[in-house]
Symmetry: C2
Subunit: 225 residues, 2 copies
């Protein structure tokens, strides 16, 4: 049996790249997406396309209503998505999102007897979220090994974040080399239902600049231009 | 403003006791229950009753389909709930359940600006689940402080597990002294819709023996006797 991995796939550029990397490294990939009440549900359709195009063994979308807690522009219609960079932790931060996502991935990994979880967090060209930092990932991994049968039985579970130290341009270059079709992905915080990007939110700005810097043609469809 | 706490309330005996303890300690309590595809949904109705009877400021039930991952007798109809003690980690273990629950509590705590999360895990009279051990709780707390704004901003977030070193009998004695009405709670892994307990599963056995040892009258309604 080839080694299995659970890969968190959001439908965005980063996680598509991570999936291609896990596939290259010989993992049998199980793609996990989370519908969490996000405004930009075009993401979830993109995740489905990305998993199909990169040969996931299975893809599951699990739904959980983080919007019930509020507190983020990504889940709360009454908080506007900023159109320009802001100071500190931005309002697009979804409380404990990566902790919740990784916990779900951990649950599935345990059932699948997978000992690797891949996640596309990135601490370089990112939005300043606390749960994208390397020290968070490392701490989650320690916790995960105490939380599960794997740990009790002496198997080591790894949280793999291969993008953590890459710039957006480096991510795009590596993904393009692996044949990722970024036209399938959606990064925008307020994408239209068909997946067209606003071009002005934090996520669009980082993505756009990344393609320019990487010298890779940007396949994104922007609403404004 | 009084200090806020998120309290995980399952509807069982342990979490009801924890809620009474948090209330006694002066916290404004926000009860969180998780519908995770468990067989024994009578639990969730019990959680609602327990939160109402112990004066929670708010009670929310969030739904997430852990049954989609399978692998546990508590979420998978094709795996039988054992009627007698078993060796090792039992099939009633739900993969990563406490990690997922605590992550959701963390998300809500962050929105509420609560810095205390209470959970009824217990490492004495328990079922041998890896995510009930003190080292897991302590590791989750470290991770939580790196995962959230609280940690970035230098506030300390605490995971409080006041039952961790108590026997079932001690838990019952303390809860009874605090006025907990255990007749409202449901512990059974296969309770009927009305909340009647089977009397033979692991959870029933621990509960039943606890009342006997504590010398507290057992208000549980058992199907078999």
């Amino acid at each position: 049996m080839s080694k299995r991995a659970v890969v968190l796939v959001s439908g965005g550029l980063d996680s598509a790249t991570v999936l291609a990397m896990a596939d290259r490294d010989g993992y049998e990939c199980f793609g996990l997406s989370v519908g969490y009440g996000q405004r930009h549900s075009a993401e979830l359709m993109a995740a489905e396309r990305v998993c199909a195009s990169l040969g996931c063994e299975q893809h599951r979308t699990i739904h959980i209503d983080l919007a019930a807690f509020g507190g983020s522009a990504l889940t709360d219609e009454s908080i506007a998505v900023p159109q320009a960079p802001t100071e500190g932790i931005p309002v697009t931060y979804v409380p404990a999102r990566n902790t919740v996502f990784l916990s779900l991935a951990l649950a599935w990994a345990e059932v699948l007897e997978a000992f690797d979880i891949f996640v596309g967090v990135n601490a370089v060209d990112y939005s300043g979220y606390p749960d994208c930092r390397p020290e968070f990932i490392s701490s989650f991994e320690s916790m995960a090994n105490l939380a599960t049968k794997a740990g009790v039985e002496g198997r080591k579970l790894s949280i793999r974040a291969p993008l953590i130290n890459l710039s957006k341009a480096e991510i795009i270059k590596q993904g393009a080399a692996l044949g990722v079709d970024y036209g399938l992905t959606v990064s925008c915080y307020q994408a239209t239902e068909s997946g067209a990007a606003c071009g002005v939110c934090d996520s669009c700005r980082l993505r756009r600049a990344g393609f320019v810097e990487a010298g890779v043609p940007d396949p994104t469809e922007y609403v404004t231009n």
